[in-house]
Symmetry: none
Amino acid sequence: MRPGPRRKDARRNQQALLDAAATVFVASGVEAPVRDIAAEAGVGMGTIYRHFPTRADLIVAVYRHQVDACAEAGPALLASSRTPYAALEQWIDQFVDFLVTKHGLAGVLQSDNSGFEALHAYFLDRLVPVCGELLDAAVESGEVRRDLADLGGLQLMRGVGNLCVGASNDPSYDARRLVAVLIAGLRRPAG
Amino acid sequence: MRPGPRRKDARRNQQALLDAAATVFVASGVEAPVRDIAAEAGVGMGTIYRHFPTRADLIVAVYRHQVDACAEAGPALLASSRTPYAALEQWIDQFVDFLVTKHGLAGVLQSDNSGFEALHAYFLDRLVPVCGELLDAAVESGEVRRDLADLGGLQLMRGVGNLCVGASNDPSYDARRLVAVLIAGLRRPAG
Amino acid sequence: MRPGPRRKDARRNQQALLDAAATVFVASGVEAPVRDIAAEAGVGMGTIYRHFPTRADLIVAVYRHQVDACAEAGPALLASSRTPYAALEQWIDQFVDFLVTKHGLAGVLQSDNSGFEALHAYFLDRLVPVCGELLDAAVESGEVRRDLADLGGLQLMRGVGNLCVGASNDPSYDARRLVAVLIAGLRRPAG
Amino acid sequence: MRPGPRRKDARRNQQALLDAAATVFVASGVEAPVRDIAAEAGVGMGTIYRHFPTRADLIVAVYRHQVDACAEAGPALLASSRTPYAALEQWIDQFVDFLVTKHGLAGVLQSDNSGFEALHAYFLDRLVPVCGELLDAAVESGEVRRDLADLGGLQLMRGVGNLCVGASNDPSYDARRLVAVLIAGLRRPAG
DNA sequence: AATGAATGAGCATTCATTCAT
DNA sequence: AATGAATGAATGCTCATTCAT
């Protein structure tokens, strides 16, 4: 599936674009100029527009594999972990790993800039349900405070995502640690 | 201190600019075009540059009073609250109130965009020590986990700030609630 | 003559292109993007360039039949009409009918845009002599002012063509009526 | 009136732009790239946008004087000419003189391209009523065919304008002569 | 001191034309 | 022969910043 374009050169270019975009996104953020990405890929600008009509399409394509992997990890963790809360912790860890290595991605995810709707849509469609299920399960198991049952996967993810904004730039900011605190804050106080 | 410019008209302009910037920042975010701010203030663009050479200077000036108030609230809360943790909670509340009413401010605070260094510097110089003291006191009092003693005021503030990114735009995102969860996560598990 | 390409599929494509171009020309004008025409025809863009190296070639080919019909109508009308002037009137009518139903064609005909030379050439080669003969005959018959004998078929045709510019778009502009006035202006004042 | 910008350099630039635009319009038509006009004027592109936010604004400004002169000539000619038809003839002559010296202007006037609405509006607002009055007067005087009473100033002007399309490029095309034929066609056949 | 006109780099986007497949 | 992917010049437009007035 997803065989991509038929022609060999087109496939090669598409891959070159994905690689180039990933590189440039890391260096300059996901809002880097189209020209830069084209140059990095060694293709003309038109080629980007052919393969990825909007910037969001490109971003989605660049991160699709990782988003999919993250989405699929949710049920697996729920099945294999000791408790639902442990599964949630691990899943969030994975999500954070993903975000902090993507310069500026967290920022764009929060952006209300129209034109990123496809991006939002993809991330949310794939991940919010997974996150929501893990959260619900952890509420059911009594590990997470009942009053947070209505927080929802979306808000939790946005919170986690926000905590990761800017994390790639500044080594003094430890997004993982803060996320861990946030997740700890979900817990029902013992005793 | 800070007597401002000598001439009366210059002082008047400075105030007009601060008011105008505050208005425009709310409406269009802190990255609004310089021209818009000048127009709102009824002055020329050159005047902005004279008074506030960089955008960060303007932002700092616009929010100086509120930042100062926030800074001064820290010791007061520590003195008046039942416990250091309660003081920390209240102080964070106040900080969040400040951020979520400033469209885009939280975003700029995280931005690694050079040119906002003065802004970062001011916020951090004023608020980080206060936040750090509250956190330390709450660690000392045993309310906050000892292993978070080295988290530091800066990281905590950045975390809180990040959670507020985009909160002004989207009513479905409740930054205050997520911050509350984060602060709850600082607590030593009871029992 | 004009047997077209040897291979059957090439001939089929050529016809598909002519049909597609006619359709797209009506919808979007004769300067429509090549890609659109190719898409309408269901062929690749390269195929257009193979069959019709320049846009003008394509336009000429699309309208060849009608231009030819118009050219052939001239002598016929001259033979069958009551007077040469009547023949001229009818022939111009036919020419106008042709132009006003071709969105943008009249405009391109006037365009000095190099690249349309082939188009100009074809139209003029075929039609100017016909128009000229009709005009001459009407001068000879005394119906048209003698001082217009040297106007020539070319100028008359360009005038008529110009009067048709934009006629397809705007229903409030009645090209036929204005052309009729122009042709009436050729007449020798009675009495 | 119309003193233009206050500052001397701004006035100088505005005039430079009008001159440059007139020059470039003649050389490359009224759709010439903004960059070219700016270069010809020796100013930055932003300066064009400041003075003339849309292309139509620039075109109108370039030709305003001449359009106004043309509009004002109508009543004067009606008063001074021997007959209304003679006034119409002379007025049309003046209008044609204007158009044929403006490369591409006649074309744009016919263009249905949105973005030229301001241009259309100005030309039509100023000239159509004048043309209409002259036409009406010539109908009243019995010089022009009564059945053309409802032709209207707009259609007549569009016809004349169309006859001028491309006249600047091609010396073999005599727009003035064809317009004269058209106007002759308005006449009531003598006898 | 204030003004706001001018600058021009920067960016997105389109589309005719070429040429590898 | 056909395809359609790739190219990249061309163009419009914005806005931070400078500087003549």
